[in-house]
């Protein structure tokens, strides 16, 4: 026994390193057994009724064509019962019936009608049964997920954040699998326009079995996104995903620092806390407005118009209304930025103030309290309660007292967007957007995330120049952000050019139709084969084999560059301004002539 215990413990530890299968298919394959089991009684009734009817019909005395007494054979009786019971009714075959036969047939007609009604009724009830339909849906879903043969993102939770992210990922051509507790959201998947089919399952994402059905164990699962509204569920998703598939990247959202720490205890998930991130972004916006502008533009994704650049206020005192999770994070960030902060909250404890922090207890909408806070000599104002109506009132009241204030507001409900849009707000926090943008930047392309995480340290002037270049080359609408790796595998000429050591970036980015004109693209970053990164390289940057470029530009430029890289003749024409014949024979002729 001891040995066995020891052995199983050892085995358990070993298994954790491998993929642990969680039985999921069992539930789905049970559907057919459910039908069969429930259909037992009706089918047996039907068989019994048929048997009794046929047997009776062969025993009742009848008459043959000449009027002599004769009984029906089993064959004729079964034939008669088959068309009578199914209400086809060809009449009395093969001979007109005797009174005794008619008497029996009358009984059997009513019997078989009951039998059929019972069998069909049971079948229809079964088909409309909620559990049965669920079982069918689950089976359908697992089959779809199992048959996916390209990388997909597993969305656990598909609320506003998940949907926004899912749509932009779908637009990039990525596949999604969705689990959500709400039936409405899963039903909406069928109605909404997606480029690819999105399998959806109604279920609790915190349940490992549900996640397994949704493809957590699938070799093509490229990332798991814990995007439910519930922090506990997100934590369960992170736990399940890290324990079952430690190698798959996880992105989780939470608004609680405690839950965030618990998530990190399980490995290295990307935890996005919108309040925390917003505070960081606000600090960036105050310190380096151009960096903030570039960051926001790139992470919002294709199709975004260049956002406006906010003018940060001079150093001074900030007033923060609402001292919940958001208020606390933001006050800490502002103080770290060197600002003095006055906090106003109906439930705050005035004794909790500290250096650069004074806490006032009171209702912010009360004019007397507002006077006490001293808005006239403040530079910034934060409306950060968890109620949108209160936040709007606060912003309006504060701007009436001091129109020069830098106003930060928190929007809780996505439905209040039009109202917030009408107010003059310098920086608006929408938690779902913060999460969506960051998750997008991380998942859409690894290089984009590398670029964005290095962006703040490059300085504001640099960011200003990059924004200017992007606007000059590609316009005010962000079109395409893509990666290209230079392998030279398809085009040997490209490989030779790269190996030559004089491959200028500016020579490659040329318009194929007219190589004197540069392509309207901006190279944000070059990653060398050894992992080194060059931020915003200029035209003289030398390229090497295995370099990956992160580019921004219109779709036409993207396909032009792809063609230059993939088609030998086009490449030679663009880079060397030489015409290389496309056919092998002609090329050989040209080369031979040239050698002479």
């Amino acid at each position: 026994m001891m040995q066995r215990l020891f052995f199983s413990a050892k085995k358990g530890r070993r298994r954790a390193r491998w993929r642990t299968p969680v039985a999921a298919g069992v539930q789905a394959s049970a559907t057919i057994f459910l039908i069969l089991r429930r259909m037992r009684a009706p089918l047996i009734t039907l068989i019994a009724i048929f048997a009794v009817s046929v047997l009776g019909l062969t025993l009742v005395p009848g008459r043959d064509a000449d009027g002599a007494p004769e009984r029906m054979s089993i064959f004729d009786a079964f034939y008669f019962m088959s068309y009578t019971a199914t209400t086809i009714g060809f009449g009395e075959l093969p001979q007109p019936f005797t009174a005794a036969q008619r008497l029996w047939v009358m009984v059997t007609i009513y019997l078989t009608v009951i039998g059929w009604a019972y069998a069909l009724g049971s079948l229809l009830t079964l088909l409309q049964d909620r559990k049965f339909r669920q079982a069918l849906a689950v089976q359908h879903f697992t089959r779809k997920v199992r048959r996916l043969n390209e990388p997909f993102l597993l969305f656990a939770g598909y609320g506003r954040t998940g949907q926004a992210l899912g749509r932009s990922m779908d637009a990039l051509g990525r596949r999604l699998v969705v689990v959500d507790i709400s039936e409405e959201r899963i039903d909406a998947l069928d109605v909404d326009q997606y480029a690819a089919d999105v399998p959806g399952l109604v279920g609790n994402a915190g349940n490992p079995h549900v996640l397994e059905m949704a493809g957590l164990g699938h070799p093509d699962c490229e990332a798991v996104l814990a995007m439910t509204d519930d922090d506990e569920t997100n934590l369960s998703v992170v736990m399940a995903a890290t324990l079952l598939r430690p190698e798959v990247p996880i992105v989780a959202r939470t608004t609680s620092a405690t839950i965030g720490n618990r998530m990190r205890a399980f490995g290295t998930p990307t935890v996005i806390n919108p309040f925390d991130r917003f505070g960081d972004r606000l600090r960036l916006a105050l310190r380096a407005p151009a960096s903030y502008q570039l960051l926001t533009w790139l992470e919002t994704g294709p199709g975004t118009h260049l956002p406006g650049r906010a003018e940060p206020p001079a150093n001074g005192r900030w007033v923060v209304c609402g001292f919940g999770r958001f208020g606390r994070e933001l006050a800490a960030d502002l103080r770290a930025n060197g600002a003095e902060v006055t906090v106003l909250d109906p439930e705050a404890d005035p004794g909790r103030g500290g250096p650069q922090l004074s806490v006032i207890c009171g209702d912010a909408t009360d004019p007397e309290v507002m006077d006490q806070v001293g808005l006239t000599d403040a530079v910034g104002f934060v409306a950060g309660t968890d109620n949108d109506t209160t936040n709007l009132c606060l912003v309006a009241a504060a701007q009436r007292v001091n129109p020069e204030l830098f106003v930060v507001a928190r929007q809780n409900d996505p439905d209040s967007t039009p109202m917030f849009a009408q107010m003059r707000i310098d920086s608006l926090l929408v938690a779902t957007e913060v999460v969506t943008h960051e998750a997008y930047a991380r998942l859409s392309s690894p290089l984009l995330w590398q670029f964005l995480s290095r962006l703040p340290e490059q300085g504001d002037d640099w960011a200003d120049r990059v924004v200017g270049r992007l606007a000059d080359h590609c316009g005010f609408h962000l079109e395409n952000v893509w990666e290209t790796t230079l392998t030279g595998r398809e085009t040997p000429a490209l490989g030779e050019w790269l190996a030559g050591g004089a491959a200028r970036l500016g020579d490659l980015l040329r318009e194929p139709a007219d190589p004197d004109r540069p392509l309207p693209v901006v190279t944000l970053l070059v990653r060398r084969g050894n992992g080194d990164v060059v931020m915003t390289p200029d035209d003289d940057e030398l390229l090497h084999k295995g370099d990956t470029l992160l580019l921004v530009g219109p779709s036409a430029a993207r396909s032009a560059l792809n063609a230059v890289i993939a088609v030998e003749t086009l490449f030679s024409y663009v880079v060397h301004r030489e015409y290389v014949p496309a056919g092998t024979l002609w090329r050989w002729l040209v080369q031979t002539v040239r050698r002479r």
């Binding site: 057994f33 429930r38 259909m39 037992r40 089918l43 068989i47 046929v54 047997l55 054979s73 004729d76």
Partner: protein
């Protein structure tokens, strides 16, 4: 006592006995093979098959398979009987009878396997 098991065992055994009753006797002599017995065997076999629906165990699956084999054989025998008795000119010849009875003999074999499975199941149940 489990009533479901009683009904199940009853039908499985009855299917085998009826089948045996029809099969026994001179292979080609129509007088010793009653067609009503064949009819009863078909009906009881069908009921036994339906009773085996929806069992997810391995032994349940084999049970269902044997029953389906018996059904197939018996229905083939019935069709052959209907052809001989009603369609063909010669009527119930010795050859036709032999065909019908040997088909039911095949079904009997499947039914015997079914009964053996029933016994195995019962014995292994008691050992636990």
């Amino acid at each position: 006592m489990n009533l479901e098991k009683v009904v199940f065992g009853f039908f499985v055994l009855l299917a085998a006995t009826l089948n045996f009753g029809f099969f026994i006797g001179d292979l080609s002599d129509p007088t010793v093979h009653n067609v009503y017995e064949l009819f009863a065997a078909v009906v009881v076999n069908l009921i036994a098959t339906v009773l085996k629906f929806g069992d997810r165990t391995q032994i349940g699956a084999v049970h269902l398979a044997t029953s389906l084999v018996a059904d197939l054989q018996l229905i083939a025998a019935t069709v052959m009987w209907a052809y001989a008795a009603h369609v063909s000119e010669e009527g119930m010849t010795e050859a036709a009878t032999a065909g019908i009875v040997s088909l039911s003999g095949g079904a009997l074999f499947a039914n015997v396997v079914s009964v053996i499975l029933l016994l195995v199941e019962t014995v292994s149940f008691q050992r636990k």
